[in-house]
């Protein structure tokens, strides 16, 4: 199964670029990578989902766990996602109001304060 996680620093942020399919087989790798980053002191994280071909509720669960850990240490998590199919996942579960969704990595690493759901990546009124 195609799945990759790559981490790169961009300014004060750690950008975690995810590619491929995120499900119960691959999500543990993403969880470990993100948890290791938080444990190493990287508390400002961007999860870039633009190259994700498929994600199900297991992937959403990992995102929730990462958000919990980052929030617990006073950090920030921003999620880059513009794919309609993935945005539907956030909307159907109400998590579009929990995550700070951004339209690009550039937008995500900008210092503008995000508010979950207020700065929608798709700009649509769903």
């Amino acid at each position: 199964m195609h799945f990759e996680v790559n981490v790169a620093p961009v300014g004060a942020w750690s950008v975690v670029a995810v590619a491929g399919e995120v499900d119960v087989a691959t999500a543990p790798r993403l969880r470990k990578e993100a948890i290791d980053l938080v444990a190493a002191g990287h508390h400002r994280m961007v999860l870039d989902l633009e190259a994700v071909d498929f994600m199900d509720s297991t992937g959403l669960g990992v995102l929730i766990g990462v958000l919990r850990r980052v929030t617990a240490v006073g950090g920030a998590l921003r999620v880059v996602c513009t794919t309609p199919r993935l945005l539907d996942l956030f909307r159907l579960t109400g998590l579009d109001r929990v995550f700070d969704l951004r339209s690009s990595v550039d937008d995500a690493v900008s210092e503008a304060a995000g508010s979950a759901g207020a700065d929608r990546a798709d700009g649509a009124d769903r």
Partner: protein, 144 residues
């Protein structure tokens, strides 16, 4: 009844992609099925099979198998996923905290059934001590 495709997979996470691929490829044979509905089918099959895989893992029965039965008709695909994982009580799942409640972040699981019910046009869960059968129907056109 339309064409029927049956698939039996080991109850292991690394076979989940195979299940998604077989069901969606079979559904793609019907030219009236739009990509949007194929994607819906991919998601609900993944959710049902994930639950089955995790049920087997919880029961320590990963050597058992999961049966998928896919009934293809012109206007809909009906998928049944059967496991031998010991079953569960739907009533025990309870309600997740509201998304505005900070306690919501304590719950990483429990979204799969929500998504199946939201995305599939028909869902049915039959739970027995011997396992769970999930029936999912996705129509080629989303009912209004």
């Amino acid at each position: 009844m339309g064409q029927v495709v049956e698939l039996e997979i080991p109850a292991r996470a690394d076979f989940l992609e195979v299940a998604r691929m077989v069901v969606t490829t079979a559904a793609s044979i019907e030219p009236t099925f739009p990509d949007e509905r194929i994607n819906d089918l991919r998601l609900v099959v993944s959710e049902a099979c994930t639950n089955a895989i995790e049920a087997h893992a919880s029961a320590g029965d990963t050597d058992k198998r999961i049966l998928l039965r896919c009934d293809l008709a012109e206007d809909r695909v009906e998928v049944e996923v059967e496991d031998q994982g010991g079953g569960f009580d739907l009533a025990d799942l309870g309600e997740l905290p509201a998304v505005t409640d900070p306690a919501r972040l304590e719950h990483e699981r429990g979204l799969g059934i929500t998504l199946m019910r939201s995305v599939a046009d028909e869902t049915e869960f039959r739970v027995s001590p011997g396992g769970t059968a999930v029936r999912l129907v996705v129509y080629s056109t989303r009912p209004r």
